[in-house]
Amino acid sequence: MTTRPDGHVSWRRLLDRRDGRDGRLTSVRAAAASAHLAEGCAACAGEADAIERLVAAIAEGPPDEPPRRAVDSAIRVYRESCAAFLRDEGEVLGVLILDSIGEFAEPAASLRADASEVRRILWRVGEYEVDASVVGRPGGADLLGQMVPGGDDPAANVTGEVSVRGGRGVRARTKIESDGRFTLRGLLPGVYTIEGRADAMRFVLPPVYLG
């Protein structure tokens, strides 16, 4: 019933050998299975390990559930953070082109309280590029950006304004200087959407964690 034609120990017999509780495995068969494993059969050892991992995972149970209030709050984060980006009121939506912390680097790495660490982010929105640096400071992050218009005219000016919106509305707003630069200082840690107007274009960028 539990013999495999290829000479390996069957999964069922490995399980009986592990549990050894209900006496289904005779001492002779148990000894034979142990001897086979002692010979160094990698396949059977792998199956025995898989059984151990499976049983251990059942024994440990599922990972602990967080408090319901924390879950509900985390679910709300999405709607609050993305509302500006998803509201579809005719703004041109920005696309992330580059983020110096990388695709799967720890985003938190940008949050270390070391003013020398600067995070660089580049978005494209319509014909413009938004080149921004985020500098973490004890009193909150500074966002130093520049709207760069498309085209070859190095003297092209940009007019408009930029604001950052958190879950509870606009947190800061500033005008875009004639050279396209803008600065927002002292942003407390959180997810923001950056939105505004550049010349005649109203735009909104994807949510970004600033802190």
């Binding site: 019933m1 539990t2 495999r4 069957s10 999964w11 069922r12 399980l15 009986d16 549990d19 509780r21 209900d22 289904r24 199956e47 898989a50 059984i51 991992r53 499976l54 049983v55 995972a57 059942i58 024994a59 440990e60 149970g61 599922p62 990972p63 602990d64 559930e65 967080p66 408090p67 209030r69 924390a70 879950v71 709050s73 985390a74 679910i75 984060v77 999405y78 709607r79 953070s81 993305c82 998803l86 696309v95 992330l96 983020d99 990388g102 695709e103 799967f104 720890e106 985003p107 938190a108 790495a109 949050l111 840690p189 959180g190 997810v191 994807p206 949510p207 970004v208 964690y209």
Partner: protein, 192 residues
């Protein structure tokens, strides 16, 4: 109208739906991986209150990171590492405050969480999900045999699950094989 996110949707599908503005997909991601985030934060030694702060921060970072998640299959490992990093950051802050107050010695913190630890937590989640797909009788038997402490005697299990004592052993093997198959293992031809 968008379809509701199904529990079986993989992470890549859920992330894609989140990018499309589907908050049901986001809720599914939070419910699926929230326990891992919570477990990592608590495992680091944070109190429930501090772990809740870390939990919120991690999900805020996750929202912001959605556009960068080009390989969303790696989402579980990514969010576990982010949770660990944030937990260590929180501990550093807490301990530096305590050091200042109590003049205690600095403590070393490891920013990296071992891959095996992440894999173990993720495996626990996958096994728990798979337990929900093998039927209550099987799941009840496996819980009785391997989860309950102390393990109840066969007589009690037999009464609880309305089965003969002699069938507990073979049923256990079939149920474990079914669980293994639900997790994507080999066929159960070796289990009989």
């Amino acid at each position: 109208m968008k379809e509701a996110a199904a529990p079986t949707d993989d992470d890549a599908a859920l992330v894609a739906r989140c990018m499309d503005g589907d908050d049901a997909a986001w809720a599914a991601l939070v419910r699926r991986h929230g326990p891992c985030v919570w477990t990592v934060a608590r495992r680091a030694g944070l109190s429930e209150h501090d772990a809740a702060d870390v939990y919120q921060t991690v999900w805020r970072i996750a929202v912001e990171s959605l556009p960068r998640l080009r390989d969303a299959e790696r989402f579980p490992a990514w969010i576990a590492r982010t949770a660990h990093f944030q937990a260590m950051r929180s501990l550093r802050t807490l301990c530096s405050t305590r050091r200042a107050l109590d003049r205690i010695a600095p403590r070393e913190f490891d920013d990296a969480i071992p891959d095996e630890e992440i894999a173990r937590i993720e495996h626990r989640r996958l096994v728990a999900e798979a337990m929900g797909r093998i039927g209550e009788r099987c799941a009840g038997l496996l819980r009785a045999l391997y989860y309950d402490h102390p393990t109840p005697p066969y007589e009690e299990i037999a009464v609880r699950l309305s089965m003969r004592i002699g069938s507990i052993g073979p049923t256990r093997a079939r149920c474990l094989a079914r669980l293994r198959d639900e997790l994507g293992g080999n066929g159960d031809d070796h289990a009989t």
